[in-house]
Symmetry: C2
Subunit: 317 residues, 2 copies
Amino acid sequence: MDERARIAMLARILSVPAAGVETAIGDDAAVLEPPHEGHRIVWTIDEQVEGSHFRADWATFHDLGWRSFMAAASDIAAMGATPWCALSALVLPDVVDDAALEQIALGQRDAAREVGAPVVGGNLARGPALSIATTLLGTCARAVTRRGARPGDTLWLAGRLGWAAAGLRALQEGKAQKPQLQFAVAAWRRPTALIAAGRAMAAVAHAAVDVSDGLARDVGHIADASSVNVVFEEAALTSDDALVEAAVALGCSALDLALYGGEDYALVVSSEAPIEGFRRIGEVREGRGGALRSPRGERPLDAVGFDHFAATSTKRA
Amino acid sequence: MDERARIAMLARILSVPAAGVETAIGDDAAVLEPPHEGHRIVWTIDEQVEGSHFRADWATFHDLGWRSFMAAASDIAAMGATPWCALSALVLPDVVDDAALEQIALGQRDAAREVGAPVVGGNLARGPALSIATTLLGTCARAVTRRGARPGDTLWLAGRLGWAAAGLRALQEGKAQKPQLQFAVAAWRRPTALIAAGRAMAAVAHAAVDVSDGLARDVGHIADASSVNVVFEEAALTSDDALVEAAVALGCSALDLALYGGEDYALVVSSEAPIEGFRRIGEVREGRGGALRSPRGERPLDAVGFDHFAATSTKRA
């Protein structure tokens, strides 16, 4: 297919009518009707690059379309916002043929349906490695940032920790066939942005992040931005027996997976009040940085331990 | 520098207060105040990839930051909109050191200043080749799409044609030092999105595009979307004596440069009324496709001739 035919195929797969979208795929830019005044727009971009975030033989092209979309959608969830619509910029090496491109688009479409935000445009380019950049707009009555956590708050978690990192490690070490690691591999391949949980926390959260680079690092952003100290309860991070079993199969520590593993797209919220669907994993105190508390005592947390597990993409908005 | 320090550097360079921007670099997403009801939001993404759109030795890193930003901003101009703010996703190979990254960001900042739309966030990732994805939001009272050109309209041009393609060819063929090609090389390295011209045409245009992939191909999008035939006047495309001189130095045709060369980011508008700052280059008729008219007669236009000159990135919104 030439590029015109490829774009027509993408338009067929991705085009769906959507509220507030007046012009979608097929012009110089998408045209949107602004949300009601009083609302806020939140806006993020994420990019997944072959060789850094994935190898093409670790997942189907459908998975790669899905997971790259979800990585961006998770940032919208972390703001307490509702996804609205998306653009996607693909860099395609020659080995990505028409059938592979179709699968990437189908993965994006399915993820877009799951979170309720259609792809309304994008860009195609050639390049040496597959990369998928996704930018999403969302709307909310009030955006939850990283600033605003207060001493006395509780840290609440929605979703799982450590599983995607275990799956990544299983793929890297050729252990993806081990029965104890099947769920982990699936978690890495098909994460889901926690949109409903994000909306649930928006009214009461003082601060929130999604766990894309690892719990210690991402909640460390809350500590930095809010000028507070965050304390995790070790027992709350290692209560998942199946994760402990997966860690044994990998010869690593479940606690390290939970603290430093990224790409599960769990949400962590700092708030006084409990939130439905979230469980307590720690608290916020006066001070700076992070700590881990166990029956043996407390130790300061090394937020850079993430390098062992996480991907190399870093948000700056 | 580690990634945290790199992001802090980018924030220092790029952060400027901007209307309607409540949270910029440093959170999971940027937070924006919606434009007034009745306005429209336009939204585009463009990506420039090393090896496909540029070679690192063809321009400074400052140029690469500038031109990638302008490529995206031009899509906002083509909708008749005013740029609002931008996100940037960078894929950095190891050879892009801190000094090079700083120069890319300075180029983005200077382009952002030129068009009045600050970078309010983004993403950093590692990868095998440098790529710069830029997504821009703009606002307007009424968006000018590719649909809406009418038989009887005139085709109007703002900006130059063929120069960036001449510059690209000079760089590819090692002729960048020739005096007749200096302006062409500069045109390729530092294009400028025609924001004021875009605003000027918005009230009267029936349809508009920017020339990123070549005049024949891009105005062909208007012909397709509006179900009309477009006719270019050859004399209007070859009236630039300096382009003719550059074409001679390259051993190619000035007409081909004007028809098939991209990346000048000229604007072409279909409207009944003349527009200040635009000049006539052709007309719109009943029919389909495109044609070229000269004193010798008329011939149908091959919109795919662009492959000889243009880059490989293709908009789909």
